[in-house]
Symmetry: C2
Subunit: 341 residues, 2 copies
């Protein structure tokens, strides 16, 4: 059996480049007592991973050099020496970019129920990206009927769900993204009220046009200039769930960091900013997965995955995702998905 791995071999300076990764063929490990050998099927590409590639590690510790890149993975149990997991079970966990991962005895693994939908959803709309959107919009954003919700990177893995949950809450939803195809996707598929291409307009002018009544909820995935323009257009008691700062990840602690000038408006408008991730919200998971699976089945929420095939293509898939070339959640399929027809 082939066990090709993608190693993380170099901390990027600025944008991630292909030499940050290295392919290696390794033996398939044999699980020890308490361990589970997983045949990986879908690897996740998420912007937060860029943070952990740096020295400081962003909100978790930094990735170690020389090891397969840690990531969320959906796979199928190949061999199990842990109670509760049997050969053939579909699972997800923090595994790695490789054909096979052996999950240590002290690391958790969760079942993925194919009855809820495609198994890839276990690391997308029914997994951590979906829960991030759910917690961000419901717990921190608290979107109300008639309010204006603005979402940046709104065609992406998290933003696309956040925006739809804003619509379901009765708010008017506006999204931004970096291509006309994404704008069309937000309007036609995600059913946002308005969407715009931030690369083609001054961000302030775009917000003035599309959010004429100001902004009540800003679901922030990007930070920087977009955030600053939003701060100038807040309504009283606005809520800003801060989910990502992708415009800043490549320049953290450098002279190119953006300086936010409209921070005092948070005081002026009695607004609340909450930095968060799913880690703080795992207690919502059971409620979330039932509700989101139902919303998917009823068609109230739709979800797009942008799947690249082949582990060799994982580095380019990640780099392209950081550049914004994907529409929806970017995944890499590295093995056969037996649930597909």
């Amino acid at each position: 059996m082939q066990n090709r791995q993608v190693l993380f071999v170099k901390r990027p300076v600025g944008a991630v480049t292909p030499d940050v990764f290295e392919l290696r063929d390794a033996a398939v490990p044999e699980p020890a007592d308490g361990e589970v050998l997983v045949r990986n099927i879908y690897l996740s590409c998420d912007p937060y991973m860029r943070g952990q590639m740096g020295e400081s590690g962003y909100s978790r510790g930094p990735f170690e050099l020389g090891l397969p890149l840690p990531a969320r993975v959906v796979g199928q149990v190949e061999k199990s020496r842990r109670d509760g997991f049997a050969e053939g079970d579909y699972v997800w966990g923090f595994l790695a970019w490789a054909h096979y991962s052996c999950q240590p005895a002290d690391m958790p693994l969760w079942h993925v129920d194919p009855a809820h939908g495609p198994i890839s959803h276990g690391i997308s709309v029914l997994g951590m990206p979906g829960l991030t959107a759910y917690a961000g919009m419901l717990k921190y954003g608290k979107a109300q009927p008639g309010e204006t919700v603005f979402v940046s990177a709104a065609s992406g893995a998290v933003g696309s769900v956040a925006g739809q949950l804003g619509r379901i809450a009765g708010a008017r939803v506006v999204g931004s993204a970096g291509s006309d195809a994404k704008v069309a996707h937000m309007k036609d598929v995600l059913r946002f009220d308005e969407a715009f291409n931030y690369k083609e307009m001054d961000i302030g002018a775009a917000l003035d046009k599309h959010c004429p009544d100001g902004i009540d909820v800003y679901f922030d995935n990007v930070g920087g200039e977009t955030l600053d323009a939003v701060l100038a257009r807040l309504n009283e008691h606005a809520r800003l769930p801060i989910c990502g700062q992708i415009s800043e990840y490549d320049v953290m602690n450098s002279a190119d960091q953006y300086g936010i000038r409209n921070f005092p408006n948070l005081l002026r408008k009695h607004a609340t900013v909450t930095g968060f991730s799913v880690r703080d919200n795992m207690d919502m998971f059971d409620e979330f997965v039932l509700r989101m699976a139902a919303l998917m089945k009823s068609g109230d929420v739709v979800y797009t995955e942008d799947i690249v095939d082949g582990i060799e293509n994982a580095p380019d898939a990640f780099i392209g995702m950081m550049r914004g070339e994907n529409i929806g959640k970017r995944l890499v399929r590295v093995g056969e998905d037996p649930t597909l027809g």
Copy 2:
């Protein structure tokens, strides 16, 4: 009877200058039905007033030109045509910089109980500045035993109470202010654990020295460079009640506005920022005033007022307060206080 008034006659550009004000002698008004004529005793000088001197009005509407400067005032009822108020009652309200104010029928007025302490406390520690500190530290800051609380402008009207409430909650309290006398006041009188003069040290180095375990609660009165340095030193799940941004009021919407570079750390540390004022927290008033009066009587909280005499000196008293020359709450006494011995 003399009714000298201080009119607001010019919107300041940058720092407030004496020509923003004009003295005028007017007749003492006669209260109509529902109105209360108040003989003003203590006028308040608060940094938030600078915001309302600008075109944009900051969190409330801008002050109107040509009228006596609106302010919180403690006084004594001279004539009343409103139920519930009798000649001789001590009251506070949003009145104005003048010897006499006639409160219109549709504007509220509150009693000040001399049994709680000096009547000036009605617009200081037992009034809105005290409630601001109380709500900020307890509701938004949520200081816990063993945590590090940092307060800027910490010898002032609000910061001095916020810091002491942090100490009473069991936190280690560090304060900054702009003079060695204020530093001594914070350590010797307010019983902060540490204090420093921000004008004599690099703010980052000072925080590294005095908050070696990072910052859990930042009670922000100043914004700008201090805030940015705090953002770089947050602990996980830090809380930042934003009460003032005094470093920015003179430069709002100008090229001199400070650019906050460490905003992404709010995400990294899963921190919460809450812009607030007492307006959102009036429901806490009854609980607050009883608790704070008890803390004052027991000596757990001490409070210093910096009182300037004479309405003619009100403009300079305000300008000096904005420059930070006061220790504790700055008030202007414009009439006899019959409760003083």
